[in-house]
Amino acid sequence: MKRPLLLITGLLYCLFFSIALAGQTDSTAQQEATEVTADEPALISPTLDLVTVQKSDNTIDLKASLKAKIKGTLTFLHSLKIKFYLVTDSAENELGTAITDRNGNAVLNVKAEQVVTNKVGQLYFKAIAAGNKSMEGAEGEVTIKRAILTLTPVKEDSLLSVQVKLVDVGSGTETPVPEITLGIFVKRLFNPLKVGEGATDENGEATIEIPNSLPGDAKGNITLIARLEENDTYGNLEASAIEKWGVPVSDKPEEQPRALWSSHPPLWMLITFAILMVAVWGHYIVIVYELFRLRKEQPVLPGNATNS
């Protein structure tokens, strides 16, 4: 009589067991395949890129970026020391050190008094990452001319614009730099947003309009940034100013409407849910109450009939 269950369960488990075994074989094969491809290169060969950003406060940011290709994937090398140098005609002066962050970047801010131009009026910077037992050393260099970029916000009625001026100061005197395209950006949460661009005239000046509907902070402030990017002679230059030209946007979260997507559910949904739960659990409560009443009832019949 008990054979049927044995047959059913036996068949089912034979089926499961055979599939399980097959699955195990597949899994083992995959594991072996992974182990074969798990070889690592003996020594990492990183590359070090060095760029400069000349700022309007007369300081220079030296930005080094350290990365390497590991197992075919570009990887940023973090927590490594980078040494920065200024190379003059006569010596190689160490400016300072910085540690690379999780994106492989290390930044050193250099004051104006720390830098000396060479005999052709240029600044020659060098960055070095020392090697270790798992990585080769890397070196990056950049040569720039000194220049100053200024930004002046101009408001005429409802028209907003910025005047930018680019002058070469490498030779000791201020010489306007013509026919250079500059970009105007507005600081946002992550990267700055480009809102306009213009080329400098013979006086090294350009006037660039900007929109008047940009969202600002709670007071309507926006940060305007003028940039010269990746110029062969001057590298990167940057100047900024804060103006109350934006549309004030509160940083406090607005109260969300009742909707499917918000944190407040639609009212009908709440009501339906509540009605259903109250209806069902209400029944349960009544039923349990009835059971309690049943228990309290005095026995009316002797319990003697079932013994056999």
């Binding site: 059913i8 499961f16 949904m269 069902v280 039923i287 026995p299 079932t306």
Partner: protein
């Protein structure tokens, strides 16, 4: 607690099964426990090494576990609907099988949700479901629905058991003292007095009335986990009734198999009669026709619309190189076979109906797989990583081991419950049923001509 002669006879017949566990049952118990232990080992691997040991990946995020969850939870809803209907309609022929339906309800609602827990990657955040529920999410609805249903299922079984528990209490069954104490405590002093009967009937009726719509709602909510998402094969307005019908259908199949097994093992031919099997067969046939209609409607609408993603899914489901053979099996064995077996008078027999039901249940499990996996393999966005294991789902041995453990738990609970309560409710059997059975008993099989 008094019984009439027929009820007494039914109790006397089943009494030995309550009093003796037997070598065979011990063997089965150890067998099931061994599978559960093997499953626990797979669970250990999953916790220790993460979900990487399963075949689930970024695209196919659900696999065997969710298939099993839907399967078992569907059985539970079906059991509650069947038991509720049988109770409310007071069908004499339904009395002997109502206990099995209720056992299926409670066991499935315990086993099913375990598979959902196996899908959870962060057990430590499980309580967030209750601390930060999002009432707009079908997941939240499902958690609430399953919990509410679980409480209802426990109450439903318990209330239906009270009369019988009083019988066991008064019968002085052989066995350990704790068992006697449990019968005494759980029967809450029921003696069959008029007032006690009234309280019990009120409770039973209320619960039967609430359990039917509740089962339909919770089965629909389960379907909405899929139906509310904009995925090919899932985003369908008929998914709610489709799931309800599918649950009821597979539940009917499991109930028929359980009836057949206990009829054989407990020698219950006088109670679980051939006539009951035929009626259950008719129910299975009607449900098969309904399920077939829904299935055809689903596939036909998607195919005719020729929408890009739907077409891709339909192609997968019907291509012999992909899921074509499984689709054929699910529809032939899951729909055509039961209809054919029951429709032909020559095969409208207990064993044939049971065999069709068993094959149909397996086919319905495959159907659940076909609902889940091919859709997840049909990604709406272009895939970034096209490694085979990311594109195609293939269940791993820990997943199969845990599936086997779930099935073993299901059988084990059935075995243990049938040793604690009688499979055919003793106090529920009516005199009309008694007469009917006794009248029909002398009639031999050979005397019944096919219609």
């Amino acid at each position: 607690m008094e019984l009439n002669s027929y009820q007494q006879q039914a109790f006397n017949h089943q009494r030995p099964f309550l009093e003796k566990f037997g070598k065979w049952n011990w063997l089965l118990t150890f067998f099931f426990i061994a599978w559960i232990i093997a499953g626990l080992y797979a669970l250990y691997l999953q916790i220790a090494y993460g979900h990487g040991v399963t075949g689930m990946r970024d695209n196919v995020v659900w696999g065997l576990f969710i298939v099993n969850f839907i399967f078992f939870i569907g059985l539970s809803y079906a059991g509650a609907i069947i038991a509720g209907i049988l109770h409310l309609l007071k069908l004499p022929l339904g009395k002997p099988i109502v206990r099995l339906a209720q056992m299926m309800t409670i066991i499935s609602i315990v086993v099913g949700p375990i598979f959902i827990l196996l899908c959870v990657g962060r057990f430590d955040r499980l309580h967030h479901l209750f601390i930060y529920p999002r009432i707009q999410s079908p997941m939240t609805w499902d958690v609430m629905a399953v919990l509410t249903f679980f409480v209802g299922a426990v109450l439903f079984l318990y209330i239906a058991l009270i009369k019988d528990l009083a019988v066991y209490r008064d019968a002085g069954l052989k066995g350990p003292k704790w068992r006697q104490w449990l019968y005494k405590t759980l029967s809450i002093g029921y003696r069959g007095g008029a007032s006690q009967k009234r309280h019990l009937i009120i409770s039973q009726n209320l619960l039967a009335i609430i359990m039917i719509p509740l089962s339909i709602i919770v089965a629909s909510i389960l379907s909405w986990i899929f139906g509310m998402t904009l995925r090919p094969g899932w985003h369908s307005t008929i998914f709610g009734p489709y799931f309800v019908l599918g649950s009821l259908y597979s539940g009917t199949g499991v109930l028929i198999v359980a009836m057949w097994y206990y009829r054989k093992s407990h020698k219950l031919e006088n109670y679980i009669t051939d006539q009951i099997f035929r009626y259950m067969g008719y129910a299975m046939m009607v449900l098969a026709a309904g399920y077939g209609y829904f299935t055809f409607s689903e596939y036909f609408t998607a195919w005719f619309g020729s929408e890009k993603w739907d077409s891709e899914l339909i192609h997968k489901l019907f291509s012999p190189g992909e899921y074509g053979w499984w689709t054929l099996f699910a529809n032939l064995a899951g729909i055509i076979l039961p209809i054919t077996i029951v429709a032909i008078p020559a095969t409208r027999k207990t064993n044939w109906i049971t065999a069709a039901a068993l094959i149909m249940v397996i086919a319905m499990w495959v159907k659940r797989y076909l609902i889940i996996v091919p859709t997840l393999e049909t990604t709406l966005l272009p895939m970034q990583d096209t490694r085979t294991e990311y594109v195609k789902y293939s269940a791993t041995w820990p997943e199969w081991l845990l599936t086997g453990a779930g099935l073993a738990s299901f059988f084990l609970f059935f075995l243990l419950m049938s040793k604690f309560v009688t499979v055919v409710p003793v106090s529920g059997l009516e005199e009309t049923n008694h007469k009917h059975v006794h009248e029909s008993m002398p009639v031999k099989k050979e005397d019944i001509q096919p219609a």
